[in-house]
Amino acid sequence: MALKSAIRNLRNNPQLLFVRLPNILSFLCIVVGVVWLLLLPLNDYSRQTYISENALLPGQVHAYFTGSEQNIFRGYKKEIQALIQEGPAGLKVATQKYEYTSAGIGYQGENVYGIIHAPRGDATEAIVLVAAWKTADDELNLNGVTLALTLARYFKRWSLWSKDIIFVFPPDSKTGTQAWIDAYHDLHPATVQPLPLKSGALQGALVIEYPFENHFHTLHIVYDGVNGQLPNLDLFNTAVAIAGGQMGIGANLQEMWKHDDSYQDRLKTILRGMTKQGLGYATGAHSSFMPYHIDAITLQPKGEGWEDEMALGRTIESLCRSLNNLLEHLHQSFFFYLLMQSNRFVSIGTYLPSAMLIAGNFTIMAIALWMRTGYYSDSKPGVSAGSDTPKSKSEKPSGTVTEKEVTESKLNGSTVAERVLALPLTLVSGLHLIGLVPLWIFNTIFHQYFTAATYIFVGVDVVLPLILAALLSNGLGISRPIVPQQYLLIKSFALLLLGLSLSTLATLNFSLSFMIGLLCAPLTFITRIQGAAAVRYPISVLGLALLNLLSPPAVLIGVCWYTGVPIETVLTQAAFGWDVWGMWTQVVVWCVWWPAWLIGCVLLGSSMF
């Protein structure tokens, strides 16, 4: 009975149902979404990693890469130091030239690669070993390249390979592998040469980075791909299992050098992973493989210790042997996960509700607004005639809704209002299309103008909503003045699109969806302020100022100031990502976030006119 009466109360109280309840629900969604994420590092919500693909058998083989191989390693190293590129015999060697241009900067280089044909193999499958001349941090990868060459000579002796092994030596970690893998699938642009030599379907890729001379302590495993794609968790687990279990080398991830398995460290690891995933840039030479559904990781020795290059070589040998065991493409384990420690993770089923709740808050508000526009909020006496709810703060009838209409609806006994859709729909879709302009600008202009363009855009973001709001409030000269219902509809459509985009995005790139969702959270609660001018003006000006702090360019400037990275570097990288890696973070920023933010500002700005 209590429930029944509660529902009856709700039904008789549209103010609560359509105005207050959605606000409460949306707010709850956001809070629960954030709290959910914060719960993930706890033991009850995360899982111990495990190897799902039995064929991998990590660390089950003895690695023989020792002894006199080290002499050859030293020999090759001296040769490479003398910059004579001469690989061990028996490999099919080929080169590939490429050239990219992005933001007015040209990138060119030449990939050298060699293939060990699997004895008895039939060129249907292959594993890739990459050693770039320059690491992701732009250091000379001397030991890495030498190690790859020595391993190439060593692997040639074994007859157990069931897959071809391809050794790729790109000149750098940013462009080389991308050019190579694009050409491998024949999807390369015209500035990239096709590959003269090919093998079969690629099953996995390992990147070796060893740019310093001293012995190392731990192995840092980098796994983030372009657009937040991740390699199969089995590959990461295998690397951890081999490094830790077989070789006795600890494994780190996400630059967490001191991880004491505490809640704070776990959360920090998750958040670092989410930042990289959300920004969606390539974190190393391995990242370019991910869009082609080739699982890849980078192995970086770190720290000061007593493990030498041969230990890294044995780790790679053992990893190659594991990959060689694979009968099928890696598919058993997770492709969507958040790692918090080298042996703990949360899978998509556990973490997804977090971003979904945040995306859902926009949808809830959008639906509530849509329903609300179907009623005349100011004809409440007609709706709830005889109800016992006290209308303590009954809203003043809006001037634009004529008394005649109200009386008509009263007379008909109907509470349904006709929605005027043309203007809201045009405005919302138009503003989303305008998002293509900054997208084009920020991916096309020369890199030296990026900083200026960002500051100009901050200015545009201040002015543009005010102009739009003024135009809307005073009629566009062609149509009748806008009615309050249309403001609600504008907001409804904008939030609906935002909710839709973010919930879809959450399944592809959880972190990006989560971050944009949080940054957009205020938009749910922004509305056109009504009331006396003395109250309206200060509040809307303050609101606009706060909103402008959350605009995409303002956030960029803020983050750059906080991290100390120049804006130009970030935007050059972003444009490079767009042009070369096929990164679509900017599309989300300019075609999802920015339009939604702009509409929020327009609504707030319209209270001033």
Partner: protein
């Protein structure tokens, strides 16, 4: 200095065999060719050939022709048969042209083609199925999986090599199993077909461990009738095993097969390097030829000669190294050097075991390898679950002559090619690629489109590649979505696509040259197979819950308390009444039925 390669030698031999009238109607030959190849490889080519007169074959009087195979062929009305088992790939870049010009090798896995005598296509196919099923049992291979989807009827790619009195009723059928792994279980039945069954003669060298450790290996069985113009027809069976062994690897003893790093003092270092020291070594590759012996490479010695082989032709082992190279052989064998400066053959003693030993030696002359007539590479390009593309590159290394050839592709039905997307790019000697219409290079097309789950695509293209040019052919295809029960257990591995067969037409008189591309792996859209399980569990739960509730609602009567009391009181009376009514109804029904 004129240099004939081993392959021309083999070819010349084959041609002589074809053309020369065979004297004896029933005889048996066996021969082994050995040739060291670059990069410490050794080509070993075994050939066994037996003849039986057609008459005795028809009367089921088998002497050198294996009875097991002969009866199958007679039962399936097969007039000519070619069966191939292959693993690995021939590295034409290092090893030159293929042995027997590629006519005795197949694509990766198993390949079978045969001319069957039948009245019409259906009958031919029925006999073909009989043949594949029987051969499957005979050779322990999955040949029974050659069904209609894997069977094609090539039009121009293959021609009968035997002499057939009537060609009209012969149907050529061709089937491949690219995913078949060839191993010892196929070797044993293969050896059983030989007259000496691996007990004597060159076939004693076959050791499964060594044979299947080879970098490339091909076994073939060919049966064909030969009818000389003067004389009776004979039926010939020819069995061949070709393999390329890695000498280094084969020499490793069975007791220590792991290629551990060698001790420091055994490292072969480039001492001219300034940094060369006790712990730094730039490795040298061996300049001189490797030392090897039959014993080391094959793990056993050659056990005499097969007594059934022709007595007048004793030179059953031939080796192709420069004459200046030292070769030691065991006692009892006689060495004979041929005039070409590279070939030497050995006449074996029938009783003593035979071994060859070649020491390490720096030599001046090398056996020159011919350039292959055509390079071909076929790969799948593109990415994604829905579409892909095929790219085939043909390189003509010759500076002067064009190459005409036929490309034969048999594609599985789930790979649906779009032939209208066939495009050609030609890169001339200047190295500038330019697109040309495919019709400019393709002089003839035979295309038989696939029917889902019934037959695969058959595509035969007659092509021409100009001198010193590279032609790239591409076409797009769509990937079909299979039914869930059509996926193999290792669905995520991908699906094998049979190698393309290339038949080079340049020399019309001599034996044809065949090249086969590598097989391909086609990833198809694959469902998550744990998902159906989850769905079944979930639906079962939902149905159980729904059924329970609905059943409950249907059966349970909701009554008030006083009604319930009345019901309880009435129960006995009600029951009796109910029984009565039931009996009455039955009688009434009967009455109505009677009426």
């Amino acid at each position: 200095m004129t240099v004939y390669s081993l392959f021309s030698f083999l070819l010349a031999l084959a041609v002589t065999l074809w053309s020369s009238p065979v004297s004896a109607s029933s005889d048996y030959h066996e021969q082994l060719f050995l040739q060291p190849l670059p990069q410490s490889s050794l080509l070993a080519s075994f050939n066994f050939r037996g003849n039986t007169s057609q008459q005795s074959f028809d009367n089921q009087h088998f002497q050198y022709f294996p009875r097991a195979l002969g009866q199958i062929l007679q039962h399936a009305h097969t007039k000519e048969l070619h069966l191939r088992f292959s693993t690995g790939r021939w590295d034409a870049e290092s090893w030159g042209p293929r042995p027997w010009n590629g006519s005795k090798e197949g694509g990766t896995g198993v390949e079978l083609w045969a001319w069957i005598d039948a009245a019409d296509d259906e009958e031919a196919f029925a006999k073909w199925i009989t043949l594949t099923q029987s051969l499957s049992g005979l050779f322990c291979a999955s040949l029974n999986f050659v069904d209609s989807t894997r069977t094609t009827r090539p039009v121009v790619s293959f021609e009968p090599t035997g002499d057939h009195p009537k060609v009209d009723g012969l149907h050529l059928l061709h089937g491949t199993l690219p995913g078949e792994v060839v191993c010892t279980e196929n070797l044993t039945p293969f050896l059983k077909l030989l007259p000496c069954k691996g007990k004597a003669g060159i076939s004693t060298l076959f050791d499964g461990h060594k044979l299947f450790d080879a970098a490339w290996q091909s076994m073939s069985v060919d049966m064909r009738p030969i009818c000389p113009s003067d004389g009776d027809c004979i039926v010939q069976i020819e069995q061949t095993v070709d393999m390329v062994l890695d000498i280094e690897r084969s020499k490793r003893p069975r007791s220590n097969p792991i290629p551990r790093p060698v001790p420091n003092e055994q490292l072969l270092c480039d001492t001219s390097k300034p940094y060369n020291s006790h712990d730094t070594c730039y490795p040298l590759e061996k300049a001189s030829g490797n030392a090897w012996s039959l014993q080391e490479v094959f793990g056993r010695t050659l056990n005499g000669v097969c007594p059934l082989a022709d007595s007048d032709e004793q030179q059953s082992v031939c080796l192709r190294v420069p004459h200046e190279r030292q070769v030691f052989h065991s006692e009892g064998a006689v060495e004979q050097k041929k005039a070409d400066g590279f070939t030497r053959c050995f006449s074996l003693s029938s009783s003593q075991p035979f071994d060859l030993s070649i020491p390490e030696q720096a030599v001046q002359t090398e056996v020159a390898l011919e350039e292959p007539v055509l390079h071909a590479e076929r790969t799948i390009v593109g990415h994604g679950q829905e579409r892909g593309g095929m790219r085939i590159i043909f390189g003509n290394p010759s500076k002067t002559t064009d190459v005409d050839f036929i490309l034969f592709e048999s594609l599985p039905w789930y790979l649906r090619p779009y032939i209208h997307t066939l495009q050609a790019t030609i890169t001339g000697p200047d190295g500038v690629p330019r697109e040309v219409p495919a019709s400019e290079l393709v002089t003839g097309t035979f295309y038989r489109p696939a029917i889902d789950r019934e037959r695969g695509t058959q595509l035969e293209l007659a092509l021409s590649v100009p001198a010193a040019s590279t032609v790239t052919l591409t076409y797009d295809f769509e990937k079909a979505i299979l039914r869930y029960n059509e996926y193999p257990p290792d669905a995520n591995r991908g699906f094998n696509v049979a190698p393309a067969v290339i038949r080079i037409l340049n020399a019309p008189d001599s034996a044809p040259i065949y090249i086969r591309s590598t097989s391909l792996l086609l990833p198809l859209p694959t469902p998550d197979f744990s998902m159906p399980y989850n769905v079944i569990i979930l639906t079962s739960t939902v149905i159980a819950l729904a059924f329970g509730t609905v059943f409950n609602i249907l059966v349970r009567r909701v009554v008030s308390v006083d009604e319930a009391a009345a019901l309880g009181a009435q129960s006995l009376k009600g029951r009796i009444l109910g029984k009565l009514v039931a009996i009455r109804d039955r009688i009434k029904k009967k009455e109505t039925k009677v009426e």
